[in-house]
């Protein structure tokens, strides 16, 4: 499956097909996440964005196709990949506090049956501090706001010290402070050469937050650097002729144009 390529991408998705029963959700998707970039996967609701991530991680069965992480199947590259699920995917009314959730990112390193020790707690605490929740570490997770919960998930990924981060809608319904904190973390990750792939729903912020974009609507409509790929034409192909979305897209493209002009 792995033909020799000049550079090995952190994530390579080839001809991926995912179906629920008989309903196709992702169809012949080809997708590369280039190393050291912040990559957005955008597309309309039900376009298969989250499904693409979950199927890549083996959480959903793949109908056909292949997914390689750093040139290897996921089982071999797991330790280099961190996953941030959607916040809604868990019950936050669970009897744990923030630092315990973050420490779950270290469980695999700990191995079977070994309890969390001082060292892991300290690492988890440091990760919480990175997302601005240093003084919320012993707070029960249901007492955190939605944005803070999202940051706890982010910290759990950070503590894994991975090379590739897959995030499912990290910006979904978070407050301004959380949005800033996440963006800061993303940029810090990029500066350390890490790769981040985010499922993203907010078109206007794509040019501001991301370097690379993949437009997905069942299949990958277009992918590449934001400057060349995030165009009105491509957005129309992705979103169809839905008026409100097109207006939003037009505004976003305009913003992208302004942003690129201001870039050094």
């Amino acid at each position: 499956m792995s033909e020799p390529s000049p550079e090995i991408h952190p994530l390579e998705v080839r001809d991926l097909n995912v179906a629920y029963q008989t309903k196709v959700v992702v169809w012949d998707a080809d997708f590369d996440a280039p190393a050291g970039k912040l990559v957005a996967i955008v597309g309309p609701n039900g376009a298969g964005k989250s499904t693409l991530l979950k199927a890549s991680l083996g959480l959903l069965p793949i109908a056909s196709g292949s997914v390689l992480f750093f040139g290897q199947p996921y089982a071999k590259a797991r330790h280099r990949v961190a996953y941030v699920p959607q916040r809604e995917s868990v019950d936050w009314d669970f009897p744990v506090n923030a630092v315990e959730v973050v420490a779950m990112g270290l469980y695999r390193r700990l191995g079977w049956c070994r309890p969390v020790s001082r060292k892991e707690r300290d690492l988890a605490q440091a990760a919480l501090a990175k997302v601005g929740l240093a003084d919320h570490s012993t707070r029960q997770i249901s007492q955190l706001s939605g944005g803070q919960q999202q940051r706890v998930f982010l910290a759990r990924a950070l503590v894994q010290d991975a090379d590739l981060y897959l995030m499912d809608e990290p910006f979904a319904s978070v407050d301004a402070a959380t949005e800033r904190a996440i963006v800061e973390v993303l940029r810090e990750l990029r500066s350390r050469g890490k790769t981040v792939v985010c499922v993203h729903h907010d078109l206007p912020t794509v040019p501001e937050y991301f370097d690379h974009v993949a437009l997905l609507n069942m299949r990958v409509v277009a992918q590449g650097p934001v400057e060349t790929t995030f165009t009105a034409e491509n957005l129309r192909k992705t979103y169809g002729a839905r008026l409100t979305l097109l207006e939003e897209a037009a505004a976003a493209v305009e913003r992208a144009r302004v942003m690129t002009r201001h870039r050094p």
Partner: protein
């Protein structure tokens, strides 16, 4: 969570120690109970001697049965907590009903092989086998059909239990008279337990506690975020099977004492009760273990004192009592605490309404001839009737608000009861309440998309919840508008001790 784990193991070890090393063959002390006439139904108060012998654990057998049932309660609480958090509570009910055909088949097999006495391990093995089969059927129906969980559980439960009942009828028609004890597995009879049976329960409980301790962090992750655990490469299916295996184990060892109809209570009720007391998993586990153990103990004492009283039902009732107490008084989520909080919020909202109404009346009312310094704005007496009509308050509401204001020293009313005067503290508080309210209002307008997450009545001051930069921005927005929205100066800086208003 290391200490919690150690404590949980210690607890069970102590239970073992208290029973002491067990010899293998000791007959149960139940014969006198079973020899009584079937028509006798009244409860007999135990003699003083019997009471003393029971409470002091003088009989070796009593001690053994006590140890066994207490360990069973503890194991139920422990496993039940994980089961509850995995949101599979009802599965335990299905599993316990599924054990009946297994018991019947095992009995038939032992009859066919010509065993004289019923052999408990064989019966329990049969119970476990069909229990697991039932669980597998639920999983298969769930995976291979469009039926939802509840339907799958109900189908499997009724089919297996029906089969079991049919087999029991067959067994009762057999010429051998051995079948009498089998109904104990349905309703439970702790007193019919032999020392060997209790020993089995005890060792099984210890094994269960050991597995729970060893897999504490794995189960925690499994229950909290299965997808994450799977993405991390943990064998989620195997972990789930291990947890369900523990559920089957508790069910099977509980059959004799509590009966298959009630064993679900042993798994779920102590866990549910413990959840009212703590937000920490380790503490919840310990509490559930303790509640289960105490319930078991109470049940078995009652059954020793009153042989006609069904131990299983008493165990469950004791657990339910703990649940009821927790439900009302639980420190973290009990009704009483909830009610206190509700009341506190209600008072704080009422207080803010009153203060703002007073402030706004002063602000609106025609000013006296000479220009008033802002500091004197609140010096005027406020006519109560105007206050009431402006705010559409019924008479009773006004009275209760004034009572609140007076009791907190925020205002005084004059002798005629027609006017209210803000005290100096009331003036400060009125300014603060109004300022806060207007900042919140602006915040809601400006950050309509994210603001609702942050609104919290317990937060006296917006600064305690919102980023100070945003507060500054809001203040500038307000200051730019006309003087109706003039913000009273912040009377005092936010107190550092009162931050974190998001706690609910």
């Amino acid at each position: 969570m290391k200490p919690a784990r150690i404590l949980a193991t210690l607890f069970l070890l102590l239970t073992l120690g208290f029973v002491g090393p067990l010899p293998r063959t000791i007959a149960a002390e139940t014969s006198h109970a079973s020899k009584r006439s079937l028509t006798e139904t009244r409860l007999e108060w135990p003699t003083r001697e019997k009471l003393w012998r029971t409470v002091s654990l003088a009989d070796y057998n009593t001690r053994v049965v006590f140890g066994g049932v207490t360990a069973l309660g503890a194991a139920g609480g422990l496993v039940g907590t994980f089961l509850l958090l995995r949101k599979r509570s009802l599965l335990s009910d299905t599993v316990s009903h599924c054990t009946l055909p297994g018991i019947a088949i095992a009995f038939l097999v032992s009859e066919a092989l010509g065993f004289q006495d019923r052999s408990l391990p064989l019966l329990l093995f049969g119970a476990a086998a069909t229990g697991i089969l039932g669980m597998a059927s639920v999983a298969a129906i769930r995976a291979r059909s469009h039926l939802k969980d509840d339907a799958a559980l109900a189908i499997v439960l009724s089919v297996f239990f029906g089969l079991g009942v049919a087999l029991m009828v067959v067994i009762q028609q057999l010429p051998t008279g051995n079948a009498a004890g089998l109904s104990h597995f349905i309703y439970g009879k702790a007193a019919s337990m032999t020392a060997g049976d209790a020993q089995l329960i005890l060792y099984a409980s210890l094994a269960i506690a050991f597995v729970c301790g060893a897999l504490f962090k794995e189960f925690k992750m499994l229950c909290f975020d299965t997808a994450f655990a799977q993405a991390q490469g943990w064998p989620v299916l195997a972990l789930d099977l291990a947890l369900m295996g523990l559920v089957v184990a508790v069910t099977v060892i509980g059959l004799q004492a509590v009966g298959l109809l009630l064993v679900v209570a042993l798994l779920i009720i102590p866990a549910a009760a413990a959840r009212f007391w703590s937000h920490r998993l380790g503490i919840t586990l310990l509490l559930a273990t303790g509640i289960g153990a105490v319930s078991g103990l109470v049940g078995v004492i009652a059954s020793a004192l009153f042989p006609r009283l069904p131990a299983g039902a008493v165990i469950v009732l004791a657990a339910v009592f703990c649940f009821a107490v927790s439900f009302v008084f639980g420190a973290e989520r009990g009704l009483f605490r909830h009610w206190l909080e509700q009341r506190r919020v209600g008072r704080s909202v009422a207080r803010q309404h009153l203060l703002r109404a007073l402030y706004e009346w002063c602000e609106r009312s025609p000013r006296s001839g000479k220009a008033e310094a802002p500091a004197q704005l609140l010096d005027r007496p406020v006519p109560l009737e105007a206050l009431r009509t402006d705010n559409h308050w019924p008479e009773s509401r006004l009275r209760s608000l004034l009572r609140l204001g007076r009791s907190e020293g925020l205002l005084s009313t004059d002798t005629g009861g027609n006017h209210a005067h803000l005290t100096s503290r009331g003036k400060i508080e009125a300014r603060r309440a109004t300022r806060n309210h207007r900042l919140w209002e602006t915040y809601l307008l400006r950050y309509a998309d994210v603001a609702p997450q942050h609104i919290h009545h317990n937060a006296d001051q917006i600064e305690h919840v919102i980023d100070p930069n945003i507060v500054n921005e809001l203040e500038e927005l307000l200051a730019g508008q006309d003087d109706v929205l003039l913000v009273p100066a912040d009377p005092e800086p936010p107190r550092p001790g009162t931050t974190g208003g998001l706690a609910s």
